[in-house]
Amino acid sequence: MSDFEPKVVAFVCNWCTYAGADLTGTSRIKYATNVKIIRFPCTGRIDFMLLLKSFANGADGIIISGCHPNDCHYTSGNFHAKRRWIMFKELMDFMGIDMKRITYSWVSAAEGARWAEVVNTTVARVRELGPYVSYQKMVNTHIEEEVTNE
């Protein structure tokens, strides 16, 4: 599918990555327009259900980004988030949901160029993987359908 444009949702923290993304713009660095940025108070505030909901609502890839360890505005939000992500990643791996579609990164407010790079690599990777239909189509399958198929 050559005309496939991936939809990527970025959940970012207000204090580092959002400011970093701002810097990317003010520095006039060009990057993929496929990304929709959602600003959060802290990475520790990003619930894993939001990721599942965005996949369900048509996202093909997700970026989650916050302050580097020890740089958190609330001192420990990103450490808590890190533990949660470790567990979430293990669960996703076990359930067969492809972690290649989710990028976790630390991007600080001074790393405008790095943000562009994170977005570009993620979009390129998701473009290769194609639309995430295997997750989205599940909304139409349930037990009744299976019984009639048999």
Binding site: N70, R83, R84, W85, M87, K89, L91
Partner: protein
């Protein structure tokens, strides 16, 4: 009269407890949970290899809790559940008398939580062998095969929430599933929503699951949902070296952190 019945009778007669939670044979011979409040009826308490239900789930239920002090027939998973509930401030140790049962079915003398702690420490804290084998088998599959497996399993789910009800760690009075602002989990059964529910459940039990396998046993459509939480309790040990339910002052895995937690996927 079995040792358990004798001990229960003694506890009830001396008013050390007001209710003993144990197992009895129902009218058809099927084992069912029993709540004995009368010393004369303590004889009906039994213990055999069919007594597998995790009774710790009843410790947090209002209907049982308000009777008074509780005695509970406890195998290893139940003891670990009790430890976990104490560490999360859901039960008060003074309100519980444990009628511990060793792996060979013999009655243990558990005088207090320190004795229980040392008994748990001596035991095997991993997942049950049968489940561990299934986990290893699934982990060997490719990611697409695993997705297929779970997609197939999740399509069966009828959203009865028996997995939640049977779990001693799922004690929230208001579950996020019961809330509709926002509606995280759709009410109707479809594979995607079912998968969302099982992911939510496993994540909320991450580092708290004590590997009793009760959720899988309770499931009316035989979804092996206990494998999800067991995989995470395995990983919680791998990453953070914590076994859930081993001490009364255990720190919750997901609400604490170490600055040097190791991971390899954050760029």
């Amino acid at each position: 009269m079995s040792n358990i019945a004798a001990k229960a009778k003694e506890l009830l007669e001396s008013k050390a407890v007001q209710v003993v939670i144990g197992y009895e044979a129902g009218p058809t011979g099927v084992v069912r949970p029993a709540f004995i409040t009368d010393a004369a009826k303590a004889d009906s308490l039994i213990y055999n290899e069919n007594c597998v239900q995790n009774l710790a789930m009843y410790l947090t239920k209002h209907e049982v809790k308000h009777i008074g002090k509780m005695g509970i027939v406890a195998t290893l998973p139940v003891m670990r559940s009790i430890m976990m509930l104490i560490s999360e401030q859901q039960v008060v140790p003074e309100n519980i008398v444990v009628l511990g049962i060793a792996e060979d079915g013999k009655l243990l003398d558990i005088a207090d939580m320190n004795v229980m702690h040392s008994h748990i420490e001596k035991s095997n804290l991993g997942n049950p062998t049968k489940d561990q084998e299934k986990l290893a088998e699934l982990n060997k599959l490719s990611i697409e095969e695993r997705f297929k497996f779970w997609e197939q399993e999740m399509s069966k789910c009828i959203k009865c929430y028996a997995c939640r009800q049977s779990c001693p760690m799922c004690y929230c009075i208001r579950c996020s599933t019961d809330c509709n602002q926002p509606q995280w989990i759709p009410v109707q059964s479809n594979t995607q929503g079912n998968m969302d529910w099982h992911i939510l459940r496993a994540m909320h039990l991450a580092g708290r699951c004590i590997s009793c396998g009760e959720c899988g046993r309770a499931c009316p459509v035989n979804i092996p949902c206990h494998l999800l939480t067991m995989q995470l309790s395995d990983q919680a040990y791998n990453y953070f070296k914590v076994h859930a339910g081993t001490s009364v002052d255990m720190k919750s895995v997901m609400s604490t952190f170490e600055p040097n937690d190791k991971e390899s996927f954050i760029i």
